[in-house]
């Protein structure tokens, strides 16, 4: 089971990149925000289909849910548009290094200072080393630009 789910988690990362590449390819034709719009429409349609078929386990009860929690979808529109904008400029792999570094660093900060109402978790030495290595790797990729986007 562990091996099966490890493989699934690994392939899932490939799915994310596939999704990012499809959206970016579409973005070249209808603009970064156009690609983001189609992404969200397709996701909503597919999700709606899964709910109708009966895969849902929760319920749509909105009372007592802070309004802030509903804004994730709006931020997501900008995230997908930013991906669509970035891929043709710096390539998928470099973009991947950059956004994962930024995400891991910022979420370490959120933990460290206890933002968003979470319990503070001090940043560890291995985390700092890891962020440093990510930055070094990003620099090496950046300085090694080979081919692509020469215009």
């Amino acid at each position: 089971m562990i091996i099966l789910f490890s493989l699934l988690a690994f392939v899932n990362g490939g799915f994310l990149m596939l999704s990012q590449l499809l959206n970016a390819g579409l973005g070249l034709r209808i603009g970064p925000f156009g690609g983001s719009l189609v992404n969200h429409v397709a996701g909503a349609l597919f999700g709606g289909l899964l709910l109708v078929v009966g895969f849902g386990a929760g319920h749509f009860v909105f009372s007592g849910v802070p309004v802030l929690y509903f804004l994730g979808g709006c931020i997501g529109v900008f995230i997908v548009a930013l991906f669509n904008y970035s891929v043709p400029l710096v390539g998928a792999a470099f973009m991947s290094v950059l956004w994962t570094s930024a995400q891991l660093f910022v979420s370490s900060l959120i933990d460290h200072f206890g933002w968003l109402g979470s319990e503070p978790i001090p940043i560890s030495a291995s985390r700092l080393v890891g962020v440093g290595l990510l930055a070094l790797g990003a620099y090496l990729v950046f300085s090694a630009r080979g081919g692509g986007n020469e215009a």
């Binding site: 999704s19 209808i30 156009g34 983001s36 991906f83 710096v90 930024a102 080393v129 990729v141 630009r145």
Partner: protein, 148 residues
């Protein structure tokens, strides 16, 4: 090395995307706790679609002809987005968060490197060089340290 302004812009937009993700992951998880996983994922995509429509109509360069001319498979990005949520959730239950995220990010990076080298979906090619490969490996080791 031949750095052009648009590369720096691309670096900035990639970093901004990751920063937003750090916040949005937690916001979406909070909604998921209230509504359930599939319900919240559906709602997040639906709200995003409604929010994106006016943006695209007002200052996007959206053209219906271009959309019609695009290969159909390019429209499937959002379907994978939904699958990712479901698979991640199943994997976390068996592997824990650290291993799931680690394998996920490594899979993401490897597939990206392959796609860059071979030119997928009409996107520009970024050929693999020794320096690029070393950079990606150093970044991969960095990921492991961050997650430990």
């Amino acid at each position: 090395m031949n750095v052009k302004p648009q590369h720096l812009v691309g670096v900035g937009t990639s970093i901004l995307a990751g920063t937003l993700i750090a916040f949005v992951v937690r916001i979406n998880a909070s909604l998921g706790q209230h509504l359930g996983l599939l319900e919240s994922s559906f709602l997040i995509h639906f709200i995003g679609a409604v929010f994106a429509l006016p943006i695209v109509l007002v200052w996007g360069r959206f053209s219906r002809d271009q959309l019609r001319a695009a290969p159909r498979y390019l429209l499937l990005g959002g379907v994978f987005g939904m699958l990712i949520v479901i698979i991640s959730n199943a994997a976390v239950a068996h592997l824990g968060m650290v291993l799931t995220v680690g394998l996920f990010l490594v899979g993401n990076l490897l597939f990206a490197a392959v796609a860059d080298h071979f030119c997928f979906f009409g996107l520009p090619v970024f050929r693999m060089t020794m320096r690029r490969a070393v950079g990606l490996m150093v970044a991969g080791v960095g990921l492991i340290f961050v997650l430990l």
